[in-house]
């Protein structure tokens, strides 16, 4: 089901946040009479956005907080250099004669090393996960039970415990793309990049895969951490081809990779 007039349909979110002119609002409301896509979207988004607007403070407070992100490698190196200079300042006077020499060496090092690396571009954040409801009458298998236990740990950001359970789940059922995907992601979030790549690649090979786009996205990022430009580009191009949730980010990251000088 697609919007019958995307130019009007795209106003949907602005409609819910009262950001349309009177004319635009009338056009959008008339469109609701004709378009099933926007009608259904309005049905759901209306309740959700109403909640955000009636009691905005908790949402604003939560959204204003910066999420913890990986410290880029370039920043870690910069902090190291700053620490080095401070340490030199604490050295006795006679030894301090070496400071200009050391400073020159540090400067030289900073000048000759590349300004940025592929791994600085990696964007690795956990994807949201919420336990799926098991329909009445269907008993969870051992694999599903272990998976849910693993994902409970994942939601708590306890990736080590999550990995333990997911590995066991995969022993019971090695053909489930979701199991491999989340295990790969947990490895990636625990900086075990090689294992992450192994499981993300496995995810991609499995049929009926609801996490294919995400698997390519995280695989691309894992290859960035490995400084493998060609593999990263190939994975991100796959994401763009799929035109899904990560299309925009993938396009951006491809642009950034292409701007970096090749080694």
């Amino acid at each position: 089901m697609k919007c019958i007039a995307p130019k009007i349909g795209k106003l949907s979110l602005l409609y819910h946040f009262d950001q349309l002119s009177n004319e635009e609002r009338k056009r959008f409301e008339a469109h609701l009479l004709e378009c099933d896509h926007c009608f259904q979207e309005t049905y759901v988004l209306g309740s959700v956005t109403e909640k955000m607007q009636k009691d905005p403070e908790p949402f604003l407070a939560a959204l204003a907080k910066k999420k913890p992100t990986r410290v880029p490698a370039i920043k870690q190196r910069r902090e190291f250099h700053i620490g080095l200079v401070e340490a030199i300042g604490r050295i006795p006077a006679l030894v301090r004669i070496a400071i200009p020499v050391a400073a020159a060496m540090v400067l030289l090092f900073l000048l000759i090393r590349p300004t940025a690396e592929l791994s600085d571009l990696a964007l690795i954040e956990p994807v949201p996960y919420r336990s799926l409801q098991i329909k009445s009458g269907a008993e969870a298998t051992d694999a599903e039970r272990l998976f849910e236990e693993g994902m409970a740990a994942y939601v708590q950001k306890d990736y080590a415990s999550s990995i333990e359970k997911l590995v066991l789940a995969i022993r019971h059922d090695s053909t489930n793309a979701g199991f491999h995907f989340y295990l790969g992601l947990c490895y990636l979030l625990s900086d075990s990049v090689d294992l992450a790549i192994e499981h993300l690649q496995k995810t991609i090979t499995l049929d009926g895969n609801p996490v294919l786009e995400k698997a390519y996205w995280y695989l691309g990022n894992a290859w960035l951490l490995k400084e493998d430009r060609a593999q990263a580009l190939a994975a991100f191009r796959k994401v763009v081809e799929m035109e899904g949730d990560y299309e925009w980010e993938a396009q951006e990251i491809i642009g950034k990779i292409e701007k970096l000088p090749q080694k």
């Binding site: 955000m52 999420k67 949201p128």
Partner: protein
């Protein structure tokens, strides 16, 4: 040349004036939309599902006489509030149907299971929905969280953060449009699906 289709305001005004054609057109368009929506949300839950039942129940409420003027209720609603009023009725009617059938998975958080205002369970339901939405938005990526943050700020009349205020109108529109798609998908993952 064909006349452009009148919007909801036009159809409601014409129906108020007693124009049968406009009234029929309005109800025929609404019927098609409700059928499609109800089919998606009830299918698989209710074995006794008759697609037209919800439509009839919604229309019954819409056409019930208003207690002060005696006119059909839908004719007394201000056009600006029509959709909000209409979606509330649809939500209640779909919710009634879901509740009536014990095989329905009531653990799933669905918008239709909203208790009424005077129900003691309403507060807990409101909190749960708020928590879910917060979880959805807080787990989105930085740029997307910035977009929803700015949308809430704008709707509340607050000043926008510099990085958003400096965007051109087209860049902002494009960002909101992209965010909309992601937001829908994120809601879907949390059972608040379309």
């Amino acid at each position: 040349m064909m006349e452009p289709e009148p919007g909801i305001d036009g159809l409601l005004s014409a129906a108020k004036r007693g124009e049968k054609t406009a009234e029929n057109r309005l109800f025929s368009l609404l019927r098609a939309r409700i059928l499609n929506l109800a089919q998606r949300r009830i299918k698989g839950r209710d074995p006794a599902w008759q697609p037209d039942d919800v439509v009839q129940e919604v229309f019954k409420v819409m056409c019930a006489p208003d207690e002060f003027q005696g006119k059909p209720k839908y004719q007394t609603i201000a056009p600006d509030h029509f959709w909000q009023w209409f979606f509330t009725i649809v939500r209640h009617k779909i919710g009634d149907r879901i509740r009536k059938h014990p095989d329905t998975n009531l653990d799933a958080v669905v918008l239709e299971l909203q208790p009424s205002e005077d129900d003691p369970a309403r507060e807990a339901w409101d909190e749960e929905l708020k928590r879910l939405i917060q979880q959805v938005v807080s787990q989105m990526r930085a740029k997307d969280r910035q977009t929803i943050h700015a949308l809430i700020l704008k709707s509340q009349g607050y000043d926008l953060p510099d990085e958003v205020a400096s965007l051109s109108q087209s860049a902002w529109d494009s960002r909101v449009s992209r965010f909309r798609k992601k937001f829908r998908n994120a809601l879907k993952k949390f059972d608040l699906d379309l």
